[in-house]
Amino acid sequence: MKEILSGNEAIARGAYEAGCRVACAYPGTPSTEILENTVTYKEIDSSWGPNEKVALEVAIGASFGGGRALCAMKHVGVNVAADPLFTLSYTGVNGGLVLITADDPEMHSSQNEQDNRNYAKFAKVPMLEPGDSQECKDFTRLAFELSEEFDTPVMLRTTTRISHSKSIVSLGERVTGLPAPKLVKNAAKLVMLPGNARVRHVFVEERTRKLGEAGASMAINRMELRDPAIGIITSGVCYQYVREVLPRASTLKLGMVYPLPTGLIRDFAARVEKLFVVEELDPFLEEQIKAMGIAVAGKEILPLCGELTPGRIRDAFASVGVAGAIHKAPSQELPVPLPPRPPNMCPGCPHRGVFFALNQLKAYVTGDIGCYTLGFMPPLSAMDTCICMGASVGMATGVVKVVSEEERQKVVGVIGDSTFLHTGINGLMDMVYNNAPATLVILDNRITAMTGRQDNPASGFTLMDDPTHSIDLPLLCKALGVKHVRTVNPFELDETRRVLQEEMARPEPSVIITNKPCVLVKREGVFERGPVYTVEVEKCTGCRACLKIGCPAIEWHPDPDGKKGKAWIDPLLCTGCDVCRQLCKFEAIGRGK
């Protein structure tokens, strides 16, 4: 049977077919849909972990217990999971363990574009890189087999263009006859104290050597000899672009990008006249091939930054006069400049009022990762830093250590509920432990919103939609030792501003929790749309105060002369959050007629 699947859907299917029993992840674009699809197979126990480190540790436990396990995350998630990963490389596995890293060249939805192929080399684990959805499925199956055969975790790397592209996939059956999981003690392999780890490190180096040798005969490393004038070594989606742009060129498509099949690469290099590497981001393949003493060109013609596209590859090869790469004139400029259309917080978003208040208070806001990072954008313009998950808390602590008392009172950390539970708790522990007089706002919207509404340990439900304990955030903060924990309704602007002001002034650690849900939560009884608001045309003076919150439901309607105008509320978009009404001094905004 054939279906059109995204790379992420195909990885989930591959895990199912491979007999995978446990899958865990923390959501992160572009990896999120992998677990949203493994959960559709009842044979796989699928769960969201509070962060990537825990998710990987759960997968490790499942593997040590003898079951096949998959763990998925975005590229920066591997930074969080790196601690267990590097030693997992030493222990190896019992049941097969596959770690998916979904990289994001071009940073379509990320804070950096790190190239996680480096992790394979750094942690000394094999890495596969599929080039379309069929390969996503097939390579996932193969990764489980290699994992058990070579006693190693296997990383499978996708990029956004693989994760979120769809292509036709032939489906297979789930494997049967895998050994039943059971407890087996093996301290020499699984207890990584120096005496044992020294032995395992020798095993790891030998394993890498064997994998490199085996790579020469793996069908996923594929030499395609066409015109011998040009030879291109490539992998992943870049292979597709190369075939598109240089259909006559010979290619060596690497399905395993670490360790490299050195014999195969030498063989290919000997059969072509001019050798190139086409890869996104770092010269990962190029440097290793050069270290083999082979002359090859790569980053001297291709960019280090951003993703590649057929056009960028075409231009690069045309610049060195490679026949077949037709150099087209760059796309014509648009004749009219257009206003940009950046993403925006939704109408009725509970974060809007908080950022409006922070802007009014001229706060210095250490920010975090989520929808609320959009609070950086004008007109709210109320975020001053954003580094990584959980960083808002530690950064707030650090800033108050160095600035004056007057400036200290401007410092506020802002973090979402899911991000706080991910890696914010430790930061708050530190703030209290070391008595840093900063204020943390936890924007509790009851969901992991940015990645598309995933449940988390505070939302009351699991990925499998089973009701579960919901973490009591105020109680958790109190247990960490925060004496001043206050909950506010972020739709009440005056109250929100007053509480912020009081806590910012307080020379002690404090936490403010906002308690209104994300408007996108579909679960019954969480978010309820209120009555739609309207502008009374006679009362509206055109002062534009209501436009300062940047709500997509409020539209400026200029008069015909264009000088003055009035506000208008789109009834299809308004959720009745009431924030704009509180901004109108002329009482022109009210609940519908």
Binding site: K2, I4, T29, P30, H108, S109, D132, T160, R161, H164, S165, K166, S167, I168, V237, Q240, Y241, R243, E244, V245, T309, P310, G311, R314, K328, S331, Q332, E333, L334, P335, V336, L338, P339, P340, R341, P342, P343, N344, M345, C346, C371, L374, P379, M450, T451, G452, R544, L547, G550, P552, I554, E555, W556, P558, G562, G565
Partner: protein, 192 residues
């Protein structure tokens, strides 16, 4: 089957239903026996931002994204976004767009106005331009929310794929209770 690949770009604003439309296109081409690839960006680009989805079909498709300047058909869900994506089209490409204007943040806040005359400029550069009042035709079909399906019908007319595959694909991808309205909307668009 010729080796030629057909390149379609669907463009509009996050939340307009672009992903569903590109799924229906892809499904149709697979049913008609073609190789298909499609690509788009999720995440930050939703939340009301600009969205571009690429759909390519033919005998064998390599790249999931349309090479720059090689689009055959630009399927626009919103006028300004259609205009923004014109550089993706090849010379002499086809534009089918919904006559719908969604103001971006700067226009909502009164700092810019929605550009005028876009329609004329598109027609000057791409004579094969069909501007459709999707909402009106969808309302006639029974539901103003089926505007995308009207546009899909209009696009289908410009592709050499038999009607049966389009209807089969709609049947598979559209919820049962909305199918009849969508079928009517599709055929209204296909008649344009």
């Amino acid at each position: 089957m010729s080796d030629r690949i057909t390149n379609i770009l669907l463009v509009g604003v996050g939340g307009q239903g672009i992903l569903l439309a590109s799924e229906i296109l892809s499904e149709t081409f697979m049913l008609a026996g073609y190789d298909v690839k499609k690509s788009e960006i999720h995440g930050m680009s939703q939340r009301g931002g600009s969205v571009v989805s690429h759909v390519r079909f033919g005998k064998e498709v390599f790249s999931p994204i349309v090479p720059e300047g090689e689009g055959d058909i630009l399927f626009g869900f919103e006028l300004m976004e259609t205009f923004r994506s014109l550089p993706l089209l090849k010379e002499g490409g086809t534009v089918v767009a919904n006559d719908l204007r969604i103001p971006p943040p700067a226009v909502l806040m009164g700092q810019a106005s929605y550009p005028e005359g876009l329609e004329g400029t598109i027609r000057e550069r791409f004579p094969d331009f069909l501007l459709v009042d999707g909402q009106k035709l969808a309302t006639e079909a029974g539901n103003p929310r089926a505007a995308n399906t009207v546009l899909l019908g209009a696009v289908s007319r410009r592709l050499n794929v038999a009607e049966e595959f389009w209807l089969k694909s709609l049947e598979k991808m559209v919820p049962h209770k909305a199918l009849e309205v969508n079928r009517t909307a599709f055929l209204k668009g296909r008649a344009l």
